[in-house]
């Protein structure tokens, strides 16, 4: 497999590895160690990499840092497997009737690892500090829904105010968040790392705290040996319900996933984020029932660049036809070794509001109907398309397969348009210089269907790289944002998703899966729909 070979060479474990692939159930293997004794203080080791930035919650967005931050902190809320909100450090997070003012009540008795109590102030101060551009926190735009954000974080120049007017401390365990406009699903955003609290000492020396983070989570920080390992240990004073069943985690730094995989095979590391692409075909034989396959809320699409002459005034029938010309199931079987699911809509699984078959017949392979639709729509301008992708991740194989499928079914010429790497690829997309069609992938920010819709296909939003615009969709999205409850909003977004059939801003291809494995040292390990390992449940065997 050419893609696999090049992946081995070129790809550093990508920060946001969209090259995720998946595999069917386990096949026999080495069981029999289920009766082994559990060591409550056993350490789990995890193949990670050197975090890009210091370990400050609001400055961490890449995977290597996030996984450490998430072990050290517990936020206000989290979500379950179906994408419903669960309360963690918060007793409750309730909106007013317009979803504009959110009241957060904290659970009492929570402490930071240094013994300081977690209060409303710990949250409000942390957010205000991180919103200020002078503090250089990469995630600061996450606060932009809050009233007064533009004063603290103007488009250009210095902060005009130190505090966002929308954040008010009511008492030690209550504070309110006033939004610029009502968002029914705002609680979902609070899951993300920039909304974690910070102890008061942090603001005096953010740099030192970034090297030795102090959080409020199930694990506390022990040591960070740069480019080698980060060690965290169980927090015995943890007030949350997800207490760690092991003694701690050793995040080992790897620069190549193939090296981590070799170590995993020999039980030198207990798990890794995702198996290397080159091993997707073998990892089930290698690990037997220790192979892990989990749904991962991410979707792959190919999107037309609507700012090009080719797609500017295209009849949607052409796009529908192209979509029907792609044999998703066969490509999933041949290229991905059956480790991906064909997409049936624009929203990934494991997300609130996910519905099956939103795309309907247009995402099912039907070469005859495809050719007919394209003809009816006046054909593809130039009768030729190209699909842009980044060659530093294993995309080539499936792009070629998709192209072949399209050409075979519809006689439309299709060529690959490889760009050296992800940075270059993104730049072309940002500058709106894509020639025809580009590959796109989206991993959830939060498990709510609006995140896959409004944030990608709304007119003028940052994630909308293809210059797509549909007033009808915008109207539906706006209605969904104005809904009274989360459930209602998710339902309305479902309507908006169905509307995409009539415009096809992106052609859905596959849903991703997290593919990993665990060593013989641990009993089991699970990943959530964001692809993050759930460490607290891991039980380590006695040596």
């Amino acid at each position: 497999m050419r893609g696999a070979k090049s992946a081995k060479w070129v790809a550093i474990a990508a920060v946001v590895a969209l090259g995720a692939t998946a595999c069917g159930g386990g096949s026999g293997g080495d069981s029999g160690d289920k009766d082994r004794a559990i060591d409550k203080n056993g350490i789990v080791s995890y193949a990670n990499g050197e975090p890009q930035n210091a370990l400050q919650p609001a400055n961490t967005m890449e995977a290597y840092g996030s996984v450490v931050i998430d072990s050290l902190w517990t936020g206000l809320v989290h979500y379950d497997e179906d994408g419903n909100i669960t309360y963690e450090n918060a007793e409750s997070v309730e909106p007013d009737k317009d979803n504009k003012v959110w009241t957060v009540k904290l659970k009492k008795g929570w402490k930071f690892h240094n013994g300081e109590e977690v209060t409303s102030k710990s949250y409000v101060d942390a957010w205000n500090w991180a919103a200020n551009p002078a503090n250089g926190q990469q995630n600061s735009s996450w606060y932009r829904d809050i009233e007064g954000y533009d004063e603290v974080h103007p488009e250009k120049g210095k902060a005009k105010s130190e505090k966002m007017s929308g954040l008010k401390v009511v008492d030690d365990h209550t504070f309110t968040i006033t939004l610029k406009s009502g968002i029914p699903y705002y609680a979902y955003k609070l899951v993300y790392t920039p909304f974690y609290p910070l102890p008061s000492g942090f603001f005096e020396d953010p740099k030192a705290y970034g090297e030795k983070p102090v959080g409020n989570g199930a694990y506390k920080f022990k040591s960070w040996d740069h480019k080698k390992s980060i060690k965290v240990v169980r927090n015995d004073d943890y007030a949350g319900e997800d207490k760690a069943k092991n003694g701690g985690i050793d995040f080992k730094a790897y620069t190549k996933d193939t090296a981590a995989y070799a170590d995993l095979k020999s039980d030198n590391v207990d798990s890794m984020p995702i198996v290397p692409n080159s091993e997707v075909a073998n990892f089930k034989q290698d690990f037997g029932d220790r192979a892990i396959e989990m749904d991962y809320s991410a979707i792959n699409t190919i999107n037309p660049a609507f700012y090009t002459k080719q797609w500017k005034d295209i009849d949607v029938k052409v796009l529908q036809g192209l979509s029907m010309a792609i044999d998703r199931d066969t490509i999933a079987k041949t290229v991905f070794n059956g480790t991906r699911d064909s997409a049936t809509g624009w929203v990934a699984k494991g997300v609130k509001g996910y519905q099956q078959d939103a795309c309907g017949k247009f995402c099912k392979y039907d070469p005859k109907a495809a050719a007919k639709l394209i003809k009816e729509g006046g054909g593809v301008p130039g009768n030729k398309i190209s699909i842009q992708y980044n060659a530093d991740q294993p995309h080539k194989d499936w792009v070629v397969a998709v192209c072949n499928s399209i050409t075979k079914a519809t006689k439309v010429k299709c060529v690959e348009d490889a760009v050296t790497d992800f940075a270059a690829d993104t730049e072309i997309r940002d500058k709106k210089q894509v020639k025809s069609i580009y590959r796109s992938g989206w991993v959830l920010d939060y498990p709510f269907n609006g995140n896959f819709l409004a944030d990608l296909y709304g007119t003028g939003v940052d994630g909308n790289k293809g210059g797509f615009s549909d007033p009808e969709f915008d109207k539906l999205a706006k209605a969904a944002d104005g809904a009274k409850t989360v459930d209602e909003s998710a339902k309305l977004y479902g309507e908006a998703e169905k509307q995409l059939v009539n415009t096809f801003p992106g052609i859905p291809l596959w849903y991703n899966k997290t593919l990993s494995a665990h060593s013989n040292n641990v009993k089991s390990l699970k990943f959530d729909q964001a692809g993050d390992p759930i460490f607290t449940d891991v039980e380590v065997f006695k040596k």
Binding site: I12, M61, G136, A259, G463
Partner: protein, 309 residues
């Protein structure tokens, strides 16, 4: 001799400026914005991008950036990384000893084993041992290095369990042994071949016949007369190989998870960390230049006929 060394050292200055400038410019024409890349596939925040660019001096015109960089370099300041804002000097000084150790081990390996094999094969030309060495070196040269790396890893690490499949601690010499062997393998083959050819040629030389006729012990003939005169091409190769082993071990370092210079350079390229790339290349250029100077000086030691005025 002294003047020669001084002149060579002075020649390094234009080479040094030229390479840094060239690399600096080349990194800058690479597509992709390193600051925006910090956000991955999420939309970057314009205010933060501007702030970071300003902090790292990336908003200045290119020539100013270069002068800035060179001025800092002269004072021993390599600048800071774009991602993480860490001093680049720290990154390089952390990776350099690892690479130096790995390179030294690989180099010693190819020096000792390579020359030994070459001498034996050269003396016993045409015999079975010579043919075996030729066959072995042919195999090593023709198979890409990553094949050996992965093979050794699978065999000794995963199957036999003699060593851990990857290096757990890059500062531990014992653990670096396997990557060093893999890294030195190709060089070893070249050294063995060069030595063999050279020995095979010189063994027929007149001075050899004289030495034998004088009744010198065989040991002395081989080590003092034959080997010494045959080493010049080998020394040339070994000298330039130091630099290759230091900076060019990207593949081997990747397979065995060694946090050396090669790895650092590769990641810097992927992240478009221009200052890091130039920094490493600068150090590497210095290593190369010093190594080649050393080689040239060694010529005079090996062959007294060569003199430097």
């Amino acid at each position: 001799m002294g003047r020669y060394v001084a002149r060579r050292l002075l020649q390094m200055i234009p080479v040094f400026i030229g390479t840094t400038l060239l690399i600096f410019l080349m990194v800058n024409v690479l597509p992709g914005d390193p600051v925006a890349a910090l956000w991955g596939d999420k939309p970057p925040d314009p205010a933060q991008v501007a702030q970071i660019k300003h902090d790292r001096g990336l908003d200045l015109p290119l020539w100013q950036q270069y002068l800035h960089y060179m001025w800092g370099l002269l004072q021993g300041d390599f600048g800071n990384t774009i991602a993480g804002n860490r001093p680049i000097l720290d990154e390089i000084t952390a990776a350099l000893p690892v690479s130096a150790r790995l390179a030294a081990m690989a180099w010693t390996f190819e020096l000792v084993v390579g020359i030994a094999l070459g001498v034996i094969a050269g003396i016993r030309r045409g015999r079975i041992i010579d043919n075996s060495v030729t066959l072995f070196t042919l195999l090593v040269i023709s198979v890409p290095i990553f094949v050996f790396g992965l093979l050794f890893q699978l065999l000794f690490g995963n199957q036999l369990g003699w060593v851990t499949p990857t290096v757990q601690n890059s500062e531990d010499m014992a653990q670096l042994l396997m990557p060093a062997l893999v890294l030195g393998l190709v060089g070893l083959a070249y050294v063995a071949r060069l030595t063999r050819t050279s020995i095979a040629e010189n063994i027929k030389a007149d001075y050899m016949r004289t030495a034998v006729a004088k009744g010198l012990p065989r040991r002395r003939i081989v080590s003092r007369h034959l080997l010494r005169n045959s080493l010049i091409p080998v020394v040339t190769y070994l000298g330039t190989d130091i630099g290759t082993l230091m900076g060019g071990a990207v593949v081997t370092e990747g397979i065995f998870n060694v946090t050396g210079v090669g790895n650092l350079l590769f990641q810097a390229l992927a992240r478009r960390e221009g200052a890091v790339i130039v920094g490493i290349v600068t150090v590497m250029v210095l290593v190369y230049l010093l190594a080649s100077l050393l080689v040239d000086l060694l010529y005079a030691v090996l062959d007294p006929r060569i003199r430097y005025a």
